[in-house]
């Protein structure tokens, strides 16, 4: 019937056949005699661009306020209020989209795909927290990120995580970042957004899998401070590294550390580094050898990682829909499976050559091969550097917030007696006791 309609139409308008393939008028629209007027379809507008700019402005303001509260005002209560505001605004009001964490994928894709453009607001969301971290440390994590706020709110019974577990689990965040970049660069998927654990809560729409994931994170988060931020967040990985270099940063004590040890256990994120003693000589010499060994091991790890990750490109490339489609079409054409899928039907309806599809798929696989080398090399590098980092010991005299791990939540402030002096609360305490 479709064919027949086409032929009739084609005969009538020989020259313009191609242009009107879609508009098959099997039943010509009537001329009405009763004066009936055709309505036209409504087109309700999307959120206006101005609101997007307002979001960016709110982000900038929130970063400024959060940095001020953490570094100058030094008030956990104020940081907490700011955090709740961010959770409500960026989380529940803006439904968790746009967010800097997910923007990583957009930026990466725009670098690798020339035709892909990023709205300026998304660029701002990606860059502003990075700039602020370079200046003030991770104040974005403290009170601006809705995901961090969500987890910070449920942290009721913090349990310390042993150092080896912390270091080991954190590697996952690097792997996740690498994967997110690999899949975004090849145009396959935005995995960060797909597995954003709290987005179901923000939207109050219940995708069961993501909901269970989010609920798990929140349950674990009651005991282990901010599990997503510490062990998963790919943006947090970037922030960690920039935070090491920050110009200004949160200090536990507003003054000079008196080594009272009161703040020692105050950090639920294991970010307070205790003073270390000098290294005994025999251990020093031993670890020198270890260090040399690890430095030699580094390129080996990178090579092994790259070799493994590019070796599984047939599997990883299935994240790309074209590869999945090509595999399906191949199976159907060779009679290895029966029946069709919506995707294979849609492909056949376009009349595109199968060869062309196979070529596209093999191009994408090649990209995954190269991407696998880079991804695996990156993971190897991270593991190697982690090992090197663990074998080097730096002497520390005071109790300090670890530059990379500190999320500037402000919990430690009130543990410091010097802070009480600063706030002129000391007298009251003395009076009470």
């Amino acid at each position: 019937m479709i064919r027949f309609g086409h032929i009739i139409f084609g005969l009538a308008f020989l020259l313009s056949l191609c242009a009107v393939v879609s508009a098959v008028e099997r039943f010509p629209p009537p001329e009405f005699e009763s004066g009936y007027e055709r309505p036209s379809p409504t087109t309700p507008h999307p959120r206006q661009d101005i609101y997007e700019y307002i979001d960016a402005a709110v982000l900038l303001a929130a970063l400024l306020v959060s940095s001020y509260l953490a570094l100058r005002k030094r008030s956990r209560r104020a940081i907490f209020i700011m955090m709740v505001f961010s959770l409500l605004y960026f989380g529940f009001w803006r439904k968790g989209c746009v967010c800097p964490i997910g923007a990583v994928a957009n930026i990466v894709l725009s670098v690798f795909d020339r035709s892909y453009t990023v709205p300026i607001v998304v660029g701002l969301f990606f860059l502003l927290p990075l700039v602020f971290t370079l200046l003030f440390g991770r104040t974005f994590c403290a009170a601006v990120c809705p995901l961090g706020a969500m987890q910070d709110l449920v942290l009721l019974r913090p349990v310390p995580v042993p150092n080896w577990a912390e270091s080991g689990l954190r590697l996952f965040a690097y792997v996740y970042l690498g994967m997110a970049v690999l899949f975004a660069a090849t145009g396959s998927a935005f995995v960060i957004c797909r597995y954003d654990p709290f987005v179901s809560f923000f939207r109050l729409s219940w995708n069961l899998n993501v909901l269970i994931l989010g609920a798990c994170f929140l349950l674990v988060g009651v005991f282990i401070g901010r599990p997503y931020c510490r062990f998963v967040c790919p943006y947090g990985v970037i922030l960690r590294q920039l935070s090491r270099l920050s110009k200004w940063r949160v200090a536990i004590t507003p003054d000079e550390c008196v080594q009272c040890r009161l703040c020692e256990d105050s950090c639920p994120f294991g970010a307070i580094k205790v003073p270390t003693t000098a290294w005994p000589v025999h251990e020093y010499n031993k670890s020198k050898k270890t260090l040399v060994f690890l430095i030699i091991l580094l390129p080996v790890l990178m090579f092994i990682g790259g070799w493994m990750a590019s070796g599984v490109r047939m599997v990883t490339s299935r994240m790309h829909e074209t590869v999945r489609l090509a595999e399906r079409i191949y199976l159907e054409d060779t009679g290895k499976v029966e029946g069709t899928t919506n995707a294979s039907l849609a492909f056949r309806a376009t009349g595109k050559e199968v060869k062309e599809l196979y070529e596209e798929a093999s191009n994408i696989r090649a990209k995954f091969g190269l991407g696998g080398w880079l991804f695996g090399g990156f993971v190897g590098l991270v593991i190697g550097l982690k090992l090197i980092g663990l074998s080097v010991r730096r002497q520390r005299k005071d109790y300090e917030a670890d530059r990379a791990s500190c999320v500037a939540c402000g919990r430690c402030f009130e543990y410091c007696p010097k802070e009480h002096v600063r706030l002129k609360k000391a007298k009251e305490i003395v009076g009470k006791s």
Partner: protein, 188 residues
């Protein structure tokens, strides 16, 4: 002592230069983005030419009630008495009774205009974007019914879960100032 101070300075110098390099890097990204990015935002929309009305839009949207709805291009409609977007495959009777309707939610209203023409309008509150009527109209009619993302409902997720599930690649991003891809009559 002097050496100690020196080494601290060296560390500071290294750190400062690394800091500067990072800032320059961010500046570079900013420059790259400002050249490449567009002022206008983009939104998700369905290309009706590619859409195969598979029904994924109704189920995969993150919203409980999908942001995708059926839209009617009246100018293309034949105002048929027997509409294949409205009536099920084997209607008991040519009437508006529920058992004759194709739409699972009864979202299409059929009203008499003049003999033998009937007008079909979509009640968006009831439409769930399943595309059953779209399939019917495309296969047997003029194809005046088609699916569109309603931009007042769409949350504009970074990765649209319908786009991920779309088998024909019909879901794509379009500039926010032209947020609809409406079908039009092409009297070439």
């Amino acid at each position: 002592m002097a050496e100690d101070k020196n080494s601290v300075n060296r560390r500071h110098f290294l750190k400062d230069s690394l800091w500067g390099a990072c800032l320059a890097g961010l500046g570079g990204i900013a420059g790259f983005l400002s050249r490449k990015s567009k002022r206008t935002n983009t939104v998700w929309q369905i290309d009706p030419e590619k859409c195969i009305a598979c029904g994924n839009c109704a189920t995969y949207c993150v919203l409980e009630e999908s942001a995708v709805k059926c839209v009617h291009a009246y100018a293309m409609c034949g105002y048929c008495k027997i509409c294949f977007g409205f009536f099920g495959p084997e209607p008991f009777d040519i009437s508006e009774a529920a058992e004759n309707q194709l739409c699972p939610t009864g979202a299409i209203k059929r009203t008499f205009v003049e003999d033998p023409y009937y007008e079909y309008t979509i009640d968006e509150k009831l439409c769930n974007g399943c595309g059953k009527c779209v399939k019917g109209c495309n296969t047997f009619g003029n194809g005046s019914l088609f699916l569109q993302v309603r931009q007042d409902r769409c949350l504009n997720c970074n990765e649209c879960s319908i786009a991920v599930a779309c088998p024909s690649g019909a879901h794509k991003r379009v500039p926010a100032d032209k947020p609809y891809l409406l079908k039009k009559v092409d009297h070439a």
